[in-house]
């Protein structure tokens, strides 16, 4: 019997939403305890700040330019490499419960496997693996899938529509009649993507994901080794947690985030010092990507709306923490705790008021790029608790899972095993992480290449329809933790900029050719 792996992801969660990371709004005792017992990473970086490329990186252990999912809406090929397949081949029982998003959700032709198997009410199908093996889809013998509401074909939506149809209409409609991300406001402040949802807590997708995870774990034999990816759709918008839970956090009492300049002139001056797409989105004159409501103008965002969004986000984070606690209790009841590694992270962050903005987009700053990551190694492995400040990436997860399972990481994985302390990080890693953004949507193309290294974040802009290729961003994380001062054109930083840009260019691998087509907006 080996070590078992509970891989817990959320969607669009900031670093500072956890108590162990200094968060003051949400109470997260379960994750805080895992951090105290394990390793807490202070600079975990995604390789993309949107869902599909980032989740594909977690599954494949590859950068987006290698796995080919260069923006949301580009499906990960069915036969892409998968760490779940490696573990399944090694004898692990494997499941993914919750949000997958390796393939587009908007799929009227039912072209994509995960939508189809959910629609048919089955939990996996045979698919080709990258080496030609035929096995369970992407290596998961059990997939029970959910996303942000009750629409669509996934298992949660089918379950809710069948068992509790009266609750379906309580969710916020994620898309509007034009299939755009909905800009409608709600709650007390009219904030976008906010709604009071009357659904009972036990029917909400957070608890459903935990219930179904427990159900799958209960189906296993005591001596099975297993890998379970428990993937919560929250705290991604819409912010429509069960209304019964709204009393947990009074939005009027929520402090404004440090990254939100309340003074309009100050806010706009900060935006004007960054490449032009920042201000143009804020003013409503540019929609560069699909992930934020195209009809919402960030300049209309009020301080109270920021407070209400942060309150609801915190409530969703608390529900996740409690759901994780239930799953850990079920694991304890099975007598497995000593042999279970728990990894908790998310796919990317959320601006959540920083610079007067919400949601996400081509903005490589901490709101989107600094992620919560906690690894509680199996107690039987006797790994000492630690805090790691060196940069690590989501690309490092897959090789870490292989290490936990006692497998050599396949050569197609591009990351490294997560360090267990800073000394190990310095000794065994070069301390750099790459993040890329590419989007081409309705005639607007934006392309960012970013390196995080040595306390700096440096972003190069490739030519597109908004940028001419001379723009960039350079932030000193130690001196400017909120990334307010763009040092790109600062002569005093010319040598640092030159070194980071050269290093970034050296590290970028060739892209596979041809580029995979964009098949849907998301």
């Amino acid at each position: 019997m080996g070590r078992k792996i509970l891989f817990v992801t959320t969607d669009q969660q900031r670093y500072d939403t956890l108590g162990c990371n200094g968060g003051q709004v949400a109470r997260t005792p379960v994750i805080d305890r895992l951090a105290a017992e394990g390793i807490r990473y202070e600079r975990a970086v995604p390789q993309s700040v949107v869902c599909m490329p980032s989740r594909s990186t977690m599954l494949t252990g590859q950068h987006p330019r290698t796995h080919g999912v260069w923006m949301n809406g580009v499906p990960l090929p069915v036969d892409a490499p998968s760490v779940a397949a490696e573990l399944h081949r090694a004898g692990y029982r494997t499941a993914l419960v919750g949000k997958p998003h390796f393939e587009p959700f908007l799929d009227p032709f039912a072209r994509f496997v995960e939508n189809r198997l959910s629609r048919e009410g089955v939990f996996t199908v045979d698919s080709p693996w990258h080496d030609g093996t035929i096995g369970p889809h992407r290596g998961f013998e059990h997939m029970e899938l959910a996303t942000h509401g009750a629409a669509g074909p996934l298992h949660y939506a089918r379950w809710l529509n069948a068992e509790h149809p009266e609750a379906v209409g309580g969710f916020y409609a994620v898309l509007d009649q034009d299939l755009e991300v909905n800009a409608d406001g709600g709650g007390s402040t009219g904030a976008p993507q906010v709604k009071d949802n009357p659904i009972p807590r036990e029917w909400y997708h957070t608890d459903w994901v935990a219930d179904r995870t427990i159900g799958w774990l209960d189906s296993l034999d005591a001596d099975d080794d297993w890998f379970c990816w428990m993937s919560f759709p929250d705290p991604h918008h819409p912010w429509d947690p069960p209304a019964s839970e709204l009393g947990r956090v009074d939005w009027r009492e929520v402090p404004l985030p440090e990254g939100y300049p309340e003074d309009r002139a100050e806010r706009e001056a900060l935006l004007d010092a960054k490449p032009r797409h920042w201000r143009r989105w804020y003013d409503g004159s540019l929609v560069s990507n699909y992930e934020a409501p195209s009809r919402w103008v960030p300049a209309t965002l009020t301080a109270d709306q920021v407070r209400e969004v942060n309150a609801r986000n915190a409530i969703e984070v608390e529900l996740i923490d409690e759901a994780l606690g239930r799953v850990l209790a079920a694991i304890e009841a099975r007598g497995w705790t000593d042999d279970v590694d728990v990894v908790f992270t998310t796919d990317h962050g959320e601006l959540q008021g920083d610079f007067g903005l919400l949601f996400k987009g081509p903005y490589h700053v901490d709101g989107l790029m600094r992620l919560p990551l906690v690894w509680r190694p199996a107690p039987s492995a006797s790994i000492a608790p630690a805090v790691v400040s060196q940069p690590v990436g989501l690309v490092d997860l897959a090789p870490t899972f292989c290490e936990v399972a006692g497998l050599a990481a396949p050569d197609w994985m591009e990351g490294s095993v997560l360090p267990t302390d800073d000394d190990a990080a310095v000794a065994a890693r070069d301390g750099a992480q790459l993040t890329e953004w590419d989007s081409e949507l309705f005639g607007v193309g934006v392309h960012l290449r970013t390196i995080t290294r040595d306390g700096w974040v440096c972003t190069v802009y490739r030519p597109g329809t908004v940028h001419d290729g001379t723009e960039g961003e350079l932030y000193d994380l130690s001196d400017d933790p909120l990334q307010r001062v763009n040092r790109w054109d600062d002569p005093a930083c010319a040598a640092v900029r030159s070194d980071l840009v050269a290093d970034l260019e050296d590290r970028l691998r060739p892209r596979p050719s041809p580029r995979r087509p964009l098949d849907a907006p998301v």
Binding site: L106, D107, P108, F109, A110, E180, L441, F442, P517, D519
Partner: protein, 142 residues
Amino acid sequence: MRASIRREGRIARSADEVWAVVGRPELLHLWFPGITACRVDGDSRTITTGTGVEMPEQILTNDPIQRRFQYRITSPLVREHLATIDVIDLGDGTCLVVYSTDADPATMALVISGGTGGAIEQLRRQLESGAGPALDALQGGT
């Protein structure tokens, strides 16, 4: 907002061979992944998608000389739609298939064009391998 999206693919078969399939509107479901059935009545075509939705369409152009096929979805799900398939002879025994989607709302254009990209790929596979349901239907005279 409307959008115009183009997908294209080169097929190593003559334009006439490819047009023999594209110009037969009743065969669409045999090369467009995610369309499970279609029936044609004059210049009306109704397709059924993989999700079970029936979509009525109007055939606008079926021109074997230009090798151009055009249709529009007339369902109220789409405010405006025009699809254009051009089969262009490249003069070397191969051809270029261009499948364009103009639609309002814009997102619908993107969703539909994802399907058209898969359709071109399926068309290429069948034509270049000389086997597949669309070719079977042609040979069977259906």
